[in-house]
């Protein structure tokens, strides 16, 4: 199946470019060049730039998701699993610093589409579900909300770290995040 292979090549090229520069700064022409396809070829496989970006984004998220899950699976205690997630998330964030920006941009575009928001919930819910279970085990008062906050923290960290990278140590940040998110005040 030659088409499938081409399609994958396009998605990978797009993901790389979108992870480096902003949605509007990457042109279809450039993606085509990088993927070794003609411009027409792109539109043969994807009806629009937005659809391609969306697919590239989810491709990236899936890779990351699998990574996280594989790290968690062998672990027993909720705290260990939480640490593994924080560890993996923060690492991911600084490995592909601009990825979150890409996330936001695709999100931005999705707002202009009909029912554009729907695609996000599916993904987010799965992630939140895992965290929620962990926080419930730990004994947090409001596991769902705490899960949401950790997600937000990771996303925000991705943004801010770009600015303050020389003032904050990632390892310290992980430890502090772990510390506060495992906090269960009893009183």
């Amino acid at each position: 199946m030659k088409g499938e292979e081409t399609r994958r090549r396009i998605v990978r090229a797009a993901l790389e470019l979108f992870s480096e520069r902003s949605y509007h700064d990457v042109s279809m022409e450039e993606i085509a060049r990088k993927a070794g396809v003609s411009k027409g070829g792109l539109f043969h496989h994807f009806p629009s730039k937005y659809e391609l970006a969306k697919e590239a984004l989810f491709y990236g998220l899936e890779i990351w998701g699998r990574e996280v899950i594989s790290r968690i699976q062998p672990l027993e205690s909720a705290e260990e699993r939480l640490w593994a997630i924080i560890d993996a998330s923060f690492d991911f964030v600084i490995q592909s610093l601009k990825f979150s920006r890409f996330f936001l941009e695709v999100y931005e575009e999705s707002l202009k589409q009909k029912n554009g928001l729907d695609i996000w919930k599916a993904f987010g819910s799965e992630y939140l579900g895992i965290l929620e279970d962990i926080f419930r085990e730990i004994g947090a008062e409001n596991p769902r909300v705490r899960a949401f906050l950790l997600g937000a923290l990771v996303d925000g960290f991705a943004l801010d770290y770009l600015v303050f990278r020389d003032e904050v140590s990632v390892e310290e940040a992980k430890k502090e995040a772990f510390r506060i998110f495992t906090c269960t005040k009893r009183s």
Copy 2:
């Protein structure tokens, strides 16, 4: 001075539009129309779209900053002040939901400029300094990092709330955030 008044009108128009739609979706033409100026007039006051956006962003940040500080000032205990900040920050995020996106976009543009990152540090440092003092008083192990994490949480919250607004209650989020950020494990 007539110029100053026009300039302010432009900044306000820009802020409004940028808070609603993305940087690339708002054209200078549109800003001009909304401000009641000619397109040329815009460039008389601002050398480029980016500079205008930057000014509009900082105009917005300043408003918000003043609001937060006025809420904090009368408060005595560190915990009260922390709550006031969380309260104000989350409220601000909800009120002008898209503002953070705008923040990110200007930030994005600034990466393309020479020394583009510098402008952020000044603002961020002031904010972080205030938080750091609070966390020191509270007795956090690593006040600087915790301050940074709260900043990140707020930024991330702004993003994610757009997607999950019907699943998460802002008030619950505030409370949970306050809970974990005031956590000081002694053990």
Copy 3:
């Protein structure tokens, strides 16, 4: 190949327009209209106005160069060849009066480009080489410099003739130019 044909049509349209009016007075829109292409089509074939102008200029120069060489080839004596060149050069200048202005304008633009001067040397050197050989045969003291001066004279003539066309006869100018450039003082 359809693209090649369109490209040629564009170049020809550009040459015509640039030969009539100045670089800044001719807009890409106008060239597109004349070539029967859309504005975007121009930029599909040429990355910028400058590149298009450059190509149009060299297209014109090549036509002229071929003409000159075909006139020279059958001639034996150096003096005959010199006359043929002067004859052809002055004629060319009169025929396409504004062409030299165009030459100068592209040259002007090239100064703003990196290594912009390089393109001229190649062309100029070939032309100068031919002249130098002729002057050496004639017995000029400094054939290289004299070749350069004849080139300069032709270029300057192109400019000045625009102003003084009703005071100077081209044929007389040719003769006088031939007279002084064949001069070899022995003393």
Copy 4:
């Protein structure tokens, strides 16, 4: 008279800028800044950019003309005077290399004006008259045309020298020019 002084300052600023960069590349704003005047001030003194450029050009030409004449006056023989002119002209050309380009540009603009050509003849005729007298004394067959050719040579030299400055020595060029322009074949 304060106005006169301002006017002169503007003309000088304009001349400097136009000698460095092209007519279209120099904006009225820039001239105003350099002259220490407001943009409105420029238009108070000159009705348009073209008129200002024209005045600046003639201001430059006059300076140069006076220089040449002062060098010639004390000289007796026609050959000495010719040498002085060639010497001065070539020197002038390389001192303010871009001046001739400026000349051409103003000329270009003048073509768009009604009766735009007239202004040139006056100046050119004076210059040509002086040369013509010299060539008549020397015994040239066609003094008028030869005068015209020397003018053209100088203008063309200005252009070409920019490209070939490292291949041609100005002093050699002067000598060779003098040699051929004093040539009087008797036969």
